[in-house]
Amino acid sequence: MIGGFLDYSPGDSFLHRLNPLAKIFLSLMLCVSCFVTDSLYFCLFMILLDLAMAAWAGISGRAMAMLEALVKLSALLFLIQVFFIREGNVILLLPMDIRVTDKGALFSLLMALRLIGATMPLALMLSITRMNDLSNVLVGTLGIPYKYAFSLTTAIRFIPVFTAAMAGIIEAQTARGVSFDTRNIFTKIGLIFPLCVPLLVTSVRKIEGAAISAELRGFNLRKRESGYKNYPIRAADIGVFLFAVTVAVLGVIVP
C-alpha cells in the first residue's frame, strides 16, 4: 500500500478531537526535539511515545507498518554513514581498509533513529487530521495570506488524489502481469522507471480533472470566511501545547 500512509484514518479519540493547530504544533515539536537531541535514549523514547500515541488514536497497525518502512530506510542510511566516519576506535575492520568505528556506529545509529523519530509524528499527524481542517486553520486561524494559503491548500487537497492515483495505477499494472510484487527492490525500481512518465501524465490528467470539478463547484469564489467549521482552542489543546514545548525543551537539555 503506497497510498495508505497519508490518508485520513477516521476516529473519535482524544487525539482526533484536538484542535488541528495543536496537532500540527505537537507533531512539529516532536519532530524538532528528535533533531536537536544528542541522546540515543531520548530518540528511542520519542519513538515509543509515537507508538503509544498511535495506539491511543487506534492506528497501531498503520504505525507499525510505517515504522517497518522507516526502519528499512534508516538501516540503509546507517550502512551508508557508518563506513564514512573514520574517527574513533575501530571495532570492525573489513578488507580494502573499510572500517567501522565506535564513534561512527553511535553517530550513524543516532542519525537513523532521528530519521525515524522525526518522520513518524508528522506522518501520524496527517493520519488523524483531515486535510480540510488543516487547510482551514491555516487560512482561518493562522491568517496565512490568502494568496499563499490558496496554493498551499490546493496542493494539500490534491495529495490524496495523487497518492490514490499512484496506488491504483501500480495495482492495475500488477494485475496485468508486471512484477511489481517482486521482493527484489532493484527489479522493482527497474520496472517502475519506464512507467514513470506515463504515471506522471496520468496523475496530472487526474489532477486537471479534479481542478475542473473544483472550479465547477466554485473554488474560485472561495474567500477566507468561507470555512464552515470553527476551531475553538480548548483546555485540552492548551495542555497539548504545553506538553509539546516541554518535550522540545527536554530534547535540548537531556544529555
Binding site: 495505477i169 495495482e171 492495475a172 500488477t174 494485475a175 510484487d181 512507467l195 496520468t202
Partner: protein
Amino acid sequence: MILFDNVSYSAGGTKIIKGVSFEIRRGDFTALIGANGAGKSTLARLCNGLLKPTSGTVRTGGFDTASAKTSRIAKFTGFLFQDPDRQICKNSVRDEIRFSLECVMEDRDEIEMRCERAIREFSFDGEREPFTMSRGERQRLVLASVLAAEPELLILDEPTTGLDYRECMYIMDCISAINRKGATVLMISHDMEIVQDFAKDAMVLNDGMLLAHGRTKEIIRDRELLARASLLPPQITDLALVLGEGYESVVTVGDMVSAVKERSGSKR
C-alpha cells in the same frame, strides 16, 4: 478454476467478505451480482491475489493466492478494473494494447498480429491518445487490451459501463466467443438483462455474504432473493412475474409474444 474456501477479508477494521465459499469450474460463465458496496470488487481482487484473504484460502488456476505472486496469476488471467483509467498508461492506443500483450506473452510476431487485429476489430485509430477519448471509448480500449490476450480466465468488473447498447452487445459477443473456446469468465454487472442473456450461472453477494449461487434463470426469477440484494429482475421477467400464472417460462420478448398470442387465441 477458482476455489474459495471459507474466505474472509477485512480492511480498516471492517469485515468486508464474510466466510465465502464457492467453486467456479473451468469453462463456466458466472455473473457476480449485488448492491453497491456488497463487496464484489473486493471479491474479484481476492481472485487474482491483488488482495490476500484474512482467513480461509483462495485457489486460482491451482495456485494458492496467499503464496503465489499476482504477476504469476496474471499470466493466465485477464483482469478488468471498474475504473478503466487506472490501467491506461501509454500514450497511444496501439502502445496500450501492445503493452498488455507484452506482459503476458513473448512471441513478437504474435504480439504484433494480435495488436493489429484488436485495433481493426474494435475500429480504433491506433495513434489516438487514450486520454482524449470519451469514457466509453476508453472502456472499449481497456476491454480490447484485456481480450486481445485471450486469457484462460477473465475477471471483468462491470465491463459494459458507459457503452451504448450496440457496443454492449458487441463486447458481450466477444466475451461469449472467448468463453466458448474454453475460457472461464467471472463478470460483475449491474445490468440484469446482460446477466440474463449471457451468464449461465450467477452468484448473489450481499453485505459480504454469498446469498445464492446457481443457474441464472432460476436466480433471476427469485424476486425475494433479488430484493434482499437491492436488485430488480430484467424487464420482461419482471413483467412475466407480475402477470403470474401461465407466464412462468417466459424469458425473451419472443416468448412473451407467443404467450400473449396463445392466451388471446384461446379467449377468442
